[in-house]
Amino acid sequence: MMLKLDGVSCGYGNVQVLWDISLEVRDREIVTIIGPNGAGKTTILRTISGLMKPSAGTIEFDGKVISGVPAHKIVDMGISQIPGGRRLFPLMTVMENLDLGGYRWRKTPTFDEALVEVFQLFPRLEERKDQQAGSLSGGEQQMLAIGRGLMSRPKYLLLDEPSLGLAPLIIKEIGNIITTIRQRGTTILLVEQNANLALKLSDRGYVLETGRIVLHDEGKNLRDNPMVKKSYLGESTVEEA
């Protein structure tokens, strides 16, 4: 199984954001896309998820062309996105958010299995299941966002900036969770501004600048790459705890 973008271009109205993007994510990999703000990282995920249609190129998943397939069907095919900024349903309870994440399994035993797994991964969500999502702390909200995304039992998980706005300790925890999710058999495509975290977790990485992929290598090679070091890791970057 593989997710493959081939020459994908995409934009909003007349503004083209992505130019000829080709990348692939193979089974059980953690692949990361790093790049500065506005490079188009989120747009790549939005295009894969069916929220936007590419103006050129194709997206293939499991041998099927999925570009142009509506967003809800992408989820049914096994690709789930955890959107940037979490995008929880703030006035609904933790449990209701999870209900919605597991919508495709509603009223089936798979729903309960997914719920057990999510609570195993995030015991705190179980403790808070009747609390309003909007009242959770930032870290808890990110955990709920991930848990909600896992409720659909995806084969591939798209993660948009999971570290954004979180304290270093919690970022580290999120990193561990991402590794655990992969160990359980889910493939991960991660988009991050926090290149340090992302490259440490990843098997392979792509560097995106102004809508084009400028570099592609194994995670550890990218970490040693002088250009990446200079632009994205920064000499003064403080290592988290």
């Binding site: 998820s49 069916g50 929220l51 509506p70 967003a71 809800h72 989820v75 049914d76 789930s80 996105q81 959107p83 995008r87 929880l88 349903f89 703030p90 006035l91 609904m92 209701e96 209900d99 919605l100 994440g101 919508y103 495709r104 509603r106 009223k107 909600r148 659909s152």
Partner: protein, 291 residues
Amino acid sequence: MWEFLNYLMNGIVSGSAYVMVALGLTLIFGILEILHFAHGEVYMLGAYFAWTILRVYDVNYLLAVFLSMVIAAVLGVVMEFLCFRPLRGKPLFLPLISAVGLSFFFTDAARILWSPNPEAISTGFNRSIVHIGEFYISQQRILMFTVAVASIVLLYLFIQKTFMGKAMRAASMDLEATALMGINIDVVVSVTFALGSALAAASGALLGPIFVLVPHMGTLVGLKAFVCVILGGFGDVRGTILAGFLIGLTESLTVGYVDSQLKDASTFAVLILVLLVRPSGLFGTKAGKFY
């Protein structure tokens, strides 16, 4: 004392009718942010559908109300598909114009299909009056109130407890995130229009026997339903319910103790007063929709 009770009861009954119309508007606004100006016309059509069914098939009145709801639900889905769906994601004044156009279309269609002259629905319920002391109420009004309360409760349970209801609430908070949950937004929107239109039609079919049927009967009701939505805090279900009863009571007490000519004006006076004091509506929480 008896007089007051009568006005109070009339207010509650017409309030419940407004709530039924306004709930659909609230749900539609909550999800699509469309000001659905043809919703009052769906109320009007609901009354005419029931009238026609009774005329042609001579069935039980309650069955006619139910059938009218079903026809309106289908109409709501078709209307959204043809007039709003193609405009989704476009600037919001476009669906607004579409809604205004629909409203004229329905009013004129009713004029042609039925007649510009007033028609009456007669049911047994309207003639039989229940009274306790000097307190009078027709069975029709009791029926109106009962059906309204039942549908409000059912709707509330539906959006709180069922998966589809949760999807509707989610869609009112974040349409795109809802799609990312694997939920088909188009289905959620269709269900919302079906439910909203059925409620408005039921309200028309139930109030029809109390008033008369004219093609423009929905215009004012639609506007008043909008007042409820605004007072309720734009997309807030509980707020809309309270606002509906508030408007009903204001009108009937104005008729009783001020001047019956000021009935309609009183609604809008309340709107202006409330907006001066609380611009986000009586129960609005700004962020909050559907709660």
